[in-house]
Symmetry: C2
Subunit: 308 residues, 2 copies
């Protein structure tokens, strides 16, 4: 089943202990759609500037990603510059130029409307909500957000959460959103805001899927933990979270039924795609994978966590 | 097979967000031996003062732990006071009174000498080495250490590491010992110092077992990740690492063969025992478990991590 994703398509300048890259293709919707494209059809809604040319377009086309919803506007594309010199776990942002993204008004092409899966990547919750409301018939909606929206745009974000089936955020965001430092208590509080499934990403320690936690503690619900790859060399962690989301949601969309077992495998595929992204700068690794490599790593993850 | 453990038997005063306890029974050898006692015979080598009475002795006896190697000395027992008010992940030490431990000279009772397993809990590496050398015929030796010995007693610690089969330490200690911030690279460097197996404890994120990593990167070795319990209420994390070690090594000692599959299950049992310890103050939970409760949680951990 096809996924429509709305989010940023951008240029990133990145510095890590392994080196530096200037203006490589980036953005949450880019990483998400590349990762998901190994599992299912993907359609992107975004806005880019005049600096987005054939070379960038070709990256999407090589993975058969539908870019007809990427609007071309006068001006420059969203630009981000950041570094990971002190810690590979957290980017230090140097520059965020919204450019054409500042006046982004998502338009949903008619030929995207039969998408059964919708992913709201990390953008202004006002825009996330607008897209959600414009696609009322989707079967499953997942989304991401970040500390900035949690702190300063809480009311708008809470409206988005009400319409989400699955929320994917990290430990810090979960605790910040709940105002609670215990992960399980925080997860319970976040799920009371709407999402039926909560995926908490722990960086190098993997991720946890919470399901069916009820607000007041009367249900323990169930949880599932996927590991992260033990990487000897992390080249560039940019986009790892978005690639996780793409692998996770892409796999779910590829399955005839979104059963608990499918969710577990989706957690593994998410972690697999996140780990590949870290192995090269930008989207380099995401552009040139094979399904065989993906499944080989999936099996490594099984080996890493299963008793026998 | 019987385990001999050398380490501290102490009194702890502990403050956590859940409350405060004065002078409860503590010490690494105490937590280790209680946890291991659910799997195999345990014999303790330690020193205590005149404040160690029948009530404390009874805790060991109730678990059939051999205390004939616990020396009674004039003075007071080792005393530690700490709190976890800011973070449950790291204790803030207020008082460390070595007392009788300052002049501890481990003596190994003759009737301990047929122990096939030896655990060197976190004490002065000079003492760890002395005990190791006094028991040359043991089949398997595991040990723990801490940042203090890594930083200020490195030479003595390196001598201990040469004689260890298994080292159990946390993330920070691994990276500090190796002088390397990448976990896999650090693990590789630490294993070049002696231990054939390295267990790195990640607190609430579980633990990783590294096996067969060779020094120069030509062997990827193998790794195994056990989860930690998702605890809604952490009452007191004191002793969780020692309880992990007790569950891990106790289970290994209970097995006819220390196969790779046994190591994997041992990681789970370690994590299980660590999680129980956090649920009550001090050793309260470790004193009153049943093997059924332990195996029930083992199965929960399997459910938490296995695809099907």
């Amino acid at each position: 089943m096809a996924i429509t994703v709305v989010g940023s398509v951008a240029f990133d300048s990145i510095e890590t202990p392994a080196g530096r890259r200037e203006r490589c293709l980036g953005g949450a919707a880019t990483y998400f759609s590349l990762a998901a494209s190994y599992f299912t059809d993907v359609r992107v809604i975004a806005v880019v500037g005049e600096d987005f040319g054939r070379r960038q377009e070709a990256v999407f086309q090589a993975r058969n990603i539908d870019t007809r919803g990427i609007e071309r506007a006068a001006g420059k594309s969203f630009f981000w510059e950041g570094s990971y010199l002190d810690s590979l776990n957290e980017a230090k942002t140097h520059i965020t130029d919204l450019n054409v993204f500042a006046s982004f008004e998502p338009k949903i092409p008619d030929f995207y409307r039969d998408s059964e899966f919708l992913f709201l990547a990390n953008i202004d919750p006002v825009l996330q909500r607008r897209v959600r409301e414009a696609m009322p018939d989707v079967k499953l909606v997942a989304g991401d957000t970040m500390n900035y929206w949690i702190k300063d745009h809480r009311a708008a974000l809470l409206e988005v959460l009400k319409g989400l089936d699955i929320l994917l955020i990290n430990d810090t965001e979960t605790k910040m959103l709940a105002g609670n430092n215990n992960l399980v208590q925080a997860a319970r509080a976040v799920m009371a805001l709407g999402p039926k499934e909560l995926v908490v990403k722990h960086g190098e320690y993997g991720a946890t899927l919470f399901h069916g936690l009820s607000p007041k503690g009367e249900s323990a619900g169930s949880a599932f933990r996927a590991p992260a790859m033990l990487l000897e060399d992390v080249i560039d962690p940019t986009g790892a979270g978005d690639s996780f989301a793409g692998g996770f949601f892409g796999y779910l969309a590829s399955q005839p039924e979104q059963s608990p077992a499918a969710y577990r495998r989706a957690m593994f595929y998410g972690s697999v795609m996140g780990s590949f992204t870290c192995e090269r700068f930008g989207t380099e690794r995401m552009q040139k994978l094979t399904r065989e490599e993906i499944d080989e790593r999936f099996n490594l993850f099984r080996e890493l966590t299963h008793l026998a």
